[in-house]
Amino acid sequence: MTSLSLVRRIRARPAIVFDAVTTAEGIAHWWGPDAGPVLVSESDPRVGGRYRVRFRMLDGSEHESSGEFLEIVPPEHVVMSWRWKGGQEDPGESRVEIRLRAIADGTELTFTHARLRDDESRRSHEQGWAASFDKLEAHLATGTAAS
Protein backbone atom coordinates (compact mmCIF):
# COMPACT_ATOMS: atom_id res chain seq x y z
CA MET A 1 0.00 0.00 0.00
CA THR A 2 1.34 3.34 -1.05
CA SER A 3 -1.77 5.01 0.16
CA LEU A 4 -4.42 4.92 2.81
CA SER A 5 -8.01 4.45 1.62
CA LEU A 6 -11.16 4.70 3.68
CA VAL A 7 -14.85 4.53 2.83
CA ARG A 8 -17.62 6.12 4.91
CA ARG A 9 -21.37 6.17 4.47
CA ILE A 10 -22.79 9.45 5.64
CA ARG A 11 -26.47 10.25 6.15
CA ALA A 12 -26.28 13.60 4.39
CA ARG A 13 -26.65 14.60 0.75
CA PRO A 14 -23.46 14.96 -1.35
CA ALA A 15 -23.75 18.78 -1.59
CA ILE A 16 -23.70 19.07 2.20
CA VAL A 17 -20.77 16.68 2.56
CA PHE A 18 -18.94 18.54 -0.19
CA ASP A 19 -19.34 21.87 1.64
CA ALA A 20 -18.19 20.26 4.89
CA VAL A 21 -15.03 19.11 3.11
CA THR A 22 -14.20 22.28 1.19
CA THR A 23 -15.46 25.37 3.00
CA ALA A 24 -13.57 27.11 5.80
CA GLU A 25 -16.56 26.75 8.10
CA GLY A 26 -16.90 23.05 7.32
CA ILE A 27 -13.20 22.26 7.70
CA ALA A 28 -13.10 24.00 11.08
CA HIS A 29 -15.61 21.45 12.40
CA TRP A 30 -13.76 18.23 11.75
CA TRP A 31 -10.09 18.87 11.11
CA GLY A 32 -8.76 19.14 14.66
CA PRO A 33 -7.73 15.84 16.28
CA ASP A 34 -9.15 16.56 19.74
CA ALA A 35 -11.42 19.03 21.54
CA GLY A 36 -8.82 21.81 21.27
CA PRO A 37 -9.77 24.96 19.36
CA VAL A 38 -9.38 25.55 15.64
CA LEU A 39 -7.40 28.81 15.46
CA VAL A 40 -7.45 29.47 11.74
CA SER A 41 -9.54 28.00 8.96
CA GLU A 42 -9.21 29.46 5.50
CA SER A 43 -10.28 27.96 2.22
CA ASP A 44 -10.54 29.12 -1.35
CA PRO A 45 -12.22 26.11 -2.95
CA ARG A 46 -11.37 26.40 -6.65
CA VAL A 47 -8.59 24.89 -8.72
CA GLY A 48 -5.36 26.59 -7.66
CA GLY A 49 -7.00 28.01 -4.53
CA ARG A 50 -5.45 27.23 -1.15
CA TYR A 51 -6.65 26.16 2.25
CA ARG A 52 -5.00 26.46 5.65
CA VAL A 53 -6.10 25.10 9.02
CA ARG A 54 -4.38 25.75 12.32
CA PHE A 55 -5.50 24.17 15.58
CA ARG A 56 -4.34 23.88 19.16
CA MET A 57 -4.52 20.51 20.80
CA LEU A 58 -5.42 19.96 24.45
CA ASP A 59 -1.74 19.39 25.25
CA GLY A 60 -1.08 22.99 24.12
CA SER A 61 0.76 22.07 20.92
CA GLU A 62 -0.26 23.88 17.74
CA HIS A 63 -0.37 22.29 14.31
CA GLU A 64 -1.07 23.59 10.89
CA SER A 65 -1.84 21.87 7.64
CA SER A 66 -2.30 23.53 4.30
CA GLY A 67 -2.35 22.85 0.62
CA GLU A 68 -3.82 23.62 -2.74
CA PHE A 69 -6.99 22.43 -4.45
CA LEU A 70 -5.82 20.48 -7.49
CA GLU A 71 -9.18 19.28 -8.78
CA ILE A 72 -12.59 20.30 -7.63
CA VAL A 73 -15.89 19.10 -9.08
CA PRO A 74 -18.86 19.90 -6.81
CA PRO A 75 -20.41 17.86 -5.36
CA GLU A 76 -18.48 14.84 -6.59
CA HIS A 77 -14.81 15.04 -5.94
CA VAL A 78 -11.96 17.09 -4.66
CA VAL A 79 -8.20 16.51 -4.83
CA MET A 80 -5.84 18.57 -2.74
CA SER A 81 -2.20 18.67 -1.88
CA TRP A 82 -1.59 18.40 1.83
CA ARG A 83 1.28 19.09 4.16
CA TRP A 84 1.94 19.61 7.84
CA LYS A 85 3.78 22.65 9.04
CA GLY A 86 5.82 22.55 12.21
CA GLY A 87 6.71 19.55 14.30
CA GLN A 88 10.12 17.91 14.35
CA GLU A 89 9.82 16.25 11.01
CA ASP A 90 8.15 17.62 7.95
CA PRO A 91 6.98 14.56 6.02
CA GLY A 92 6.61 16.66 2.87
CA GLU A 93 3.74 17.04 0.52
CA SER A 94 1.17 14.36 -0.02
CA ARG A 95 -2.15 14.15 -1.77
CA VAL A 96 -5.67 13.84 -0.42
CA GLU A 97 -8.51 12.78 -2.66
CA ILE A 98 -12.16 12.66 -1.65
CA ARG A 99 -14.86 11.20 -3.88
CA LEU A 100 -18.57 11.43 -3.14
CA ARG A 101 -21.30 9.26 -4.54
CA ALA A 102 -25.01 9.67 -3.86
CA ILE A 103 -26.56 6.59 -2.27
CA ALA A 104 -30.12 5.93 -1.10
CA ASP A 105 -29.76 7.43 2.36
CA GLY A 106 -27.01 9.93 1.74
CA THR A 107 -23.44 9.82 0.49
CA GLU A 108 -20.70 7.29 0.17
CA LEU A 109 -17.38 8.99 0.71
CA THR A 110 -14.14 7.44 -0.52
CA PHE A 111 -11.05 8.97 0.98
CA THR A 112 -7.48 8.41 -0.21
CA HIS A 113 -4.29 9.85 1.26
CA ALA A 114 -1.34 9.04 -0.95
CA ARG A 115 2.31 9.76 -0.93
CA LEU A 116 2.57 9.42 -4.66
CA ARG A 117 1.18 11.24 -7.63
CA ASP A 118 -2.06 9.89 -8.98
CA ASP A 119 -0.61 8.03 -11.98
CA GLU A 120 2.00 6.33 -9.82
CA SER A 121 -0.57 5.38 -7.20
CA ARG A 122 -2.89 3.92 -9.78
CA ARG A 123 -0.09 1.96 -11.40
CA SER A 124 0.96 0.58 -8.05
CA HIS A 125 -2.57 -0.54 -7.26
CA GLU A 126 -3.01 -2.18 -10.64
CA GLN A 127 0.20 -4.07 -10.18
CA GLY A 128 -0.70 -5.46 -6.82
CA TRP A 129 1.59 -3.30 -4.76
CA ALA A 130 -0.46 -3.95 -1.66
CA ALA A 131 0.00 -7.71 -1.49
CA SER A 132 3.74 -7.69 -1.95
CA PHE A 133 4.27 -4.82 0.42
CA ASP A 134 2.17 -6.52 3.08
CA LYS A 135 4.32 -9.61 2.75
CA LEU A 136 7.48 -7.60 3.19
CA GLU A 137 5.93 -5.82 6.10
CA ALA A 138 5.01 -9.09 7.78
CA HIS A 139 8.56 -10.23 7.28
CA LEU A 140 10.03 -7.05 8.71
CA ALA A 141 7.76 -7.29 11.70
CA THR A 142 9.40 -10.59 12.60
CA GLY A 143 12.73 -8.74 12.62
CA THR A 144 14.65 -11.42 10.77
CA ALA A 145 15.84 -9.24 7.91
CA ALA A 146 19.52 -8.40 7.71
CA SER A 147 19.88 -4.75 8.59
Binding site: L4, L6, R8, R13, G106, F133, L140
Partner: protein, 117 residues
Protein backbone atom coordinates in the same frame (compact mmCIF):
# COMPACT_ATOMS: atom_id res chain seq x y z
CA UNK B 1 22.46 14.09 4.22
CA UNK B 2 19.18 13.42 2.51
CA UNK B 3 16.27 14.73 4.54
CA UNK B 4 13.32 12.77 5.81
CA UNK B 5 10.82 13.70 3.09
CA UNK B 6 13.24 13.08 0.23
CA UNK B 7 13.98 9.68 1.72
CA UNK B 8 10.28 8.91 1.97
CA UNK B 9 9.67 9.94 -1.63
CA UNK B 10 12.59 7.83 -2.82
CA UNK B 11 11.37 4.82 -0.88
CA UNK B 12 7.84 5.03 -2.26
CA UNK B 13 9.12 5.67 -5.78
CA UNK B 14 11.51 2.70 -5.55
CA UNK B 15 8.78 0.42 -4.25
CA UNK B 16 6.28 1.32 -6.95
CA UNK B 17 8.00 -0.83 -9.60
CA UNK B 18 7.01 -4.55 -9.65
CA UNK B 19 10.46 -5.81 -10.69
CA UNK B 20 12.10 -3.95 -7.84
CA UNK B 21 9.55 -5.32 -5.40
CA UNK B 22 10.24 -8.80 -6.69
CA UNK B 23 13.96 -8.24 -6.17
CA UNK B 24 13.29 -7.15 -2.59
CA UNK B 25 11.04 -10.16 -2.05
CA UNK B 26 13.88 -12.41 -3.21
CA UNK B 27 16.32 -10.73 -0.86
CA UNK B 28 13.82 -11.10 1.92
CA UNK B 29 14.12 -14.88 1.64
CA UNK B 30 17.92 -14.98 1.67
CA UNK B 31 20.56 -13.23 3.71
CA UNK B 32 22.22 -12.04 0.51
CA UNK B 33 22.31 -12.83 -3.20
CA UNK B 34 24.58 -12.29 -6.18
CA UNK B 35 23.40 -10.15 -9.06
CA UNK B 36 23.07 -13.11 -11.43
CA UNK B 37 21.00 -14.99 -8.84
CA UNK B 38 18.73 -11.97 -8.59
CA UNK B 39 18.44 -11.63 -12.37
CA UNK B 40 17.54 -15.28 -12.90
CA UNK B 41 13.75 -15.19 -12.38
CA UNK B 42 13.28 -12.20 -14.70
CA UNK B 43 12.94 -12.04 -18.43
CA UNK B 44 15.20 -9.02 -18.48
CA UNK B 45 18.90 -8.60 -19.12
CA UNK B 46 21.54 -8.13 -16.50
CA UNK B 47 22.05 -4.40 -17.23
CA UNK B 48 18.34 -3.81 -16.58
CA UNK B 49 18.63 -5.57 -13.24
CA UNK B 50 21.66 -3.44 -12.45
CA UNK B 51 19.59 -0.32 -13.10
CA UNK B 52 16.91 -1.49 -10.71
CA UNK B 53 19.59 -2.19 -8.12
CA UNK B 54 20.90 1.35 -8.58
CA UNK B 55 17.46 2.74 -7.77
CA UNK B 56 17.08 0.44 -4.77
CA UNK B 57 20.55 1.31 -3.49
CA UNK B 58 19.93 5.02 -3.90
CA UNK B 59 16.75 4.63 -1.86
CA UNK B 60 18.80 2.83 0.77
CA UNK B 61 16.77 -0.37 0.38
CA UNK B 62 19.72 -2.58 -0.56
CA UNK B 63 23.47 -2.58 -0.09
CA UNK B 64 26.02 -4.03 -2.50
CA UNK B 65 29.36 -5.35 -1.32
CA UNK B 66 32.10 -6.71 -3.54
CA UNK B 67 34.27 -9.63 -2.63
CA UNK B 68 36.61 -10.65 -5.42
CA UNK B 69 34.45 -10.88 -8.51
CA UNK B 70 31.20 -11.47 -6.70
CA UNK B 71 28.86 -8.66 -5.74
CA UNK B 72 26.53 -9.56 -2.89
CA UNK B 73 23.27 -7.69 -2.55
CA UNK B 74 21.56 -7.46 0.81
CA UNK B 75 18.22 -6.08 1.96
CA UNK B 76 18.28 -2.98 4.12
CA UNK B 77 14.83 -2.61 5.67
CA UNK B 78 15.09 0.75 7.53
CA UNK B 79 13.64 2.93 4.76
CA UNK B 80 10.65 0.63 4.48
CA UNK B 81 10.05 0.93 8.20
CA UNK B 82 10.01 4.70 7.78
CA UNK B 83 7.53 4.42 4.92
CA UNK B 84 5.31 2.19 7.04
CA UNK B 85 5.53 4.62 9.95
CA UNK B 86 4.33 7.37 7.61
CA UNK B 87 1.29 5.32 6.62
CA UNK B 88 0.56 4.24 10.20
CA UNK B 89 0.51 7.79 11.45
CA UNK B 90 -2.40 8.50 9.12
CA UNK B 91 -4.07 5.18 9.74
CA UNK B 92 -4.89 6.55 13.18
CA UNK B 93 -5.49 10.15 12.21
CA UNK B 94 -7.91 9.94 9.29
CA UNK B 95 -10.59 7.50 10.52
CA UNK B 96 -11.23 9.79 13.50
CA UNK B 97 -11.33 12.87 11.28
CA UNK B 98 -13.82 11.24 8.93
CA UNK B 99 -16.04 10.27 11.88
CA UNK B 100 -16.10 13.94 12.86
CA UNK B 101 -16.79 14.97 9.28
CA UNK B 102 -19.69 12.53 9.06
CA UNK B 103 -21.17 13.75 12.35
CA UNK B 104 -20.90 17.36 11.22
CA UNK B 105 -22.41 16.71 7.76
CA UNK B 106 -25.26 14.73 9.33
CA UNK B 107 -26.06 17.60 11.68
CA UNK B 108 -26.08 19.99 8.71
CA UNK B 109 -28.38 17.61 6.84
CA UNK B 110 -30.81 17.54 9.79
CA UNK B 111 -30.70 21.35 9.88
CA UNK B 112 -31.41 21.59 6.14
CA UNK B 113 -34.32 19.16 6.44
CA UNK B 114 -35.95 21.04 9.29
CA UNK B 115 -35.74 24.24 7.21
CA UNK B 116 -37.25 22.52 4.19
CA UNK B 117 -40.24 21.31 6.14
Amino acid sequence: MVNYQERLDRTFAALVDPTRRAILAQLERKAGASISELAQPFAIKLPAVMKHLDVLEEAGLVTRSKSGRTVTVRLRPQPMREAMAWLRRYERFWPERLDELAAYAESKEAEARSKER
